[in-house]
Amino acid sequence: MFSYTFHWNQALKALPQMLDGALVTLQVALLSMVIGLALALALTACRLSGNRILGSFATAWVEIARNTPALFQIYMAHFGLGNFGIHLSPYTALLAGIAFNNAGYLAENFRGALKAIPDTQTRAGRSLGMTSVQAFRYIVLPQMLRIAFLPVTNQMVWAILMTSLGVTVGMNTDLAGITQELNARSFRTFEFFAIAAVIYYVIAKAVTLAARALAARMFRY
């Protein structure tokens, strides 16, 4: 019926290679989340600081990250910066692009979370003799992270999915890169990408479940 016969056994031979790629994918995603979280906290601080320049810098970052495609951001990190003579390797460009994107979305999540924490709590803290930093650190921050935990988990899944865009800037060690290379070599598109889809699904599920378990432990009262 179809003129196409599946060559699964050929494709499965490449499985170990693809699993190696999956590790790289996970690594990039985790790193981009760590960097993204740090940047997002910094951006949130900028927005809260009341300094107009810092505030608008943070707002610009958040709006650009949220209103342009991730693919565009990664392409820009490699070829756009390359125009200024700043050379990021595919790995770094991918990491930078996703971290930039993560930071923007996470900062927006934090802002939403902050709004949910009443001002009165900070004031109560201050009147107990806490400094404003202490009040933020011990009263606001823990609650903020708790409220923002679910969106952060979602962003982590997004980060994993975004790593697949690295192929456009010459990344060939992550799961999508390896899959694409195998595909270009043999033209066996369906088999290789189907296997990749399964691996991505498993990673994304594993991360979600791990995050849920973590949340259950951390936020037990």
């Binding site: 179809f2 003129s3 196409y4 709006e63 650009i64 949220r66 209103n67 342009t68 495609p69 991730a70 693919l71 565009f72 392409y75 820009m76 070829f79 756009g80 390359g82 125009n83 200024f84 899944v157 994993i160 999915l161 975004m162 790593t163 697949s164 865009l165 192929v167 999508a176 899959t179 595909n183 598109t189 369906f190 990408f193 189907a194 990749a196 889809a197 991505y200 699904y201 994304a204 599920k205």
Partner: protein
């Protein structure tokens, strides 16, 4: 800096790309939303246990990179000899992708309507359909609309990936021009600006609605 070989006809080419982006988005979001509403209502109606297969399939669409989905979808239609042009393939894959997220939004919206309200409606003699139409739909829409706008914008941005199938949308149009003119920075900036101009006002509208509707 503005000493460029970019001509008006090239700008027209970029705008054509932008129109393609909008067309793909419009078709996918429309189809995806219809599917999403159906799936969302079904999921709510049959309960979590019976909805497992549907939930699982939709979950797959949310856990596999869109790029992989597009390539797979295209390979599938090619193996099945459906002979779809890239536009159709892109729209089908993006619609299912949209539907997967939209289902969650719809489900969230429906479950935000207090059961007591719905029971009150039913005890007034409303049919299931009337209850859905006059009680649930208006209330759920209010809750869901901001997320739905977010989803629409997300799909608009994600649609950049259809360039992989050879569809000349905004980002691909920019790449074509970069290839010919070798002015990557300028062209990419214009491309980014167009995305931003489409997305930002709608995002603001979503934020505004969320703020206005959350206070009452």
């Amino acid at each position: 800096m503005f000493n460029t070989a970019l001509t008006l006809s090239d700008l027209g080419f970029l705008l054509q790309g932008a129109l393609m982006t909008l067309a793909v988005t419009a078709v996918s979001v429309t189809a995806g939303t219809i599917l999403g509403v159906i799936f969302g209502v079904v999921r709510n109606q049959v309960g979590p246990y019976w909805a497992v297969p549907l939930t699982f399939v939709l979950d797959v669409f949310r856990s596999v990179p869109l790029l992989i989905q597009l390539v797979l979808g295209n390979a599938f239609q090619s193996i099945a000899k459906l002979g779809w042009p890239p536009f159709t393939t892109s729209c089908v894959v993006l619609s299912l992708y949209t539907a997967a997220y939209c289902t969650e939004i719809v489900r969230g919206g429906i479950s935000s309507v207090p059961p007591t309200t719905r029971r009150a409606a039913r005890s007034l003699g409303m049919t299931w359909w009337q209850d859905m139409r006059y009680i649930v739909a208006p209330l759920a829409t209010r809750v869901s609309l901001p997320s739905w706008i977010g989803l629409t914008l997300g799909v608009m941005k994600d649609s950049a990936l259809v360039l992989w199938l050879g569809l000349i949308e905004l980002l691909r149009a920019s790449q074509v021009l970069v290839t010919r003119l070798q002015e990557p920075l300028l062209i990419l900036m214009i491309c980014g600006a167009i995305y931003f101009l489409i997305s930002f006002p709608i995002a603001r509208l979503g934020g505004y609605l969320e703020k206005r509707w959350s206070n009452d």
